[in-house]
Symmetry: C2
Subunit: 199 residues, 2 copies
């Protein structure tokens, strides 16, 4: 629709997840209006992320060095490992400030539809971590959906061999601040079956 | 939240219009997963757009040369000029294939709230275009909102001096495919006042 460079940019932007044709056009023209340095800073950030970001050799979280910030922090409790699907989930859990242990990023979940099996996840590395270290608890924090549940069940079965390691799963239930009337049946069912005695 | 490069990228992406913190994070990690060449192609497109894209010296549409594709096309009807706010509007009208004349891109609309007055629009250039050429009709295709209407009214008044040029405005009315019951009062009112005899 447009000429050369602006259309090329709109096409490239349109490939990004969650950006439709209108959004790509809007961002394209917005960038055209920005000072040259601002646009170049974005371009540079994209290039840098591919050059600099690597994955922690222990937990597979995003890192800029051999080890990620969390694995290299001596104050973290090395007896706890929280298993998540993606680095994004590490960031989400870190924001809660509830967890002071280490992580293990699987790199996704078991999903036959997407052709993703257990061998494509960092499971072997998890097992060798557990064999080597003094871990006392593994918290399975995969997503509370079909793929995440399947992955958690699969890992829980693998971890049966480690008799001295407790395995737990994040609680399911009503989201805080939500309305009971709007909760779906599965969530409400989980909230019932997981109900706690009032102290 | 993240380390270095990935956080820098997420920050830069979060500045784009229509992209919130979650979207920026999603796009950032998506880019991290892409092949290096794909990410670099996006970065390059951003740099190219700032280097190559300029504005047509006649109509101020986006262009890669002195004149835009439309102004330099000999098959366009030079007696018609359609006045729009932005280059995006040119693309939208071109998609209809209803108009074969030329354009004039104002570079916005009169909007006192945003500190935008008539002197910041390409109005002087429009008037000198009209003085020089054999234009028979000017179609005011600014947006059907407050700023666009004010701009159209302002331009219509300016063009009173050109007694041999017809000035028209795009029709307002019900959007095709819409439900009458969901139309707002102003639109429905316009549809009434602009009603046409059935042939």
């Amino acid at each position: 629709m447009y000429e050369g460079a602006i259309q090329d940019l709109i096409d490239e932007l349109g490939r990004l997840p969650g950006i439709g044709p209108k959004g790509a056009q809007r961002i394209g023209f917005w960038l055209l209006d920005q000072p040259k340095e601002d646009a170049e800073r974005l371009a540079e950030a994209i290039i840098q992320v591919k050059q600099k970001v690597r994955f922690c050799s222990v937990c597979f979280n995003v890192a800029e060095d051999e080890l990620c910030r969390i694995c290299s922090d001596p104050r973290r409790d090395r007896r706890l490992i929280c298993v998540v699907e993606e680095s994004k989930d590490v960031a989400a859990i870190e924001r809660t400030r509830e967890f002071r242990g280490l992580y293990h990023v699987l790199g996704g979940a078991i999903s036959p539809i997407d052709g993703k099996g257990p061998s494509q996840l960092h499971l072997r590395e998890l097992l060798s971590r557990l064999a080597d270290s003094q871990v006392s608890e593994v918290i399975l924090a995969t997503n509370p959906n079909l793929e995440g549940e399947a992955t958690a069940t699969y890992i829980a079965r693998l971890l049966k061999d480690f008799s001295d390691i407790a395995v737990s799963r994040l609680a399911s239930g009503l989201p805080v601040g939500g309305d009971l009337e709007y909760a779906d049946e599965v969530t409400l069912g989980r909230a019932f079956s997981g109900r706690r005695a009032v102290d």
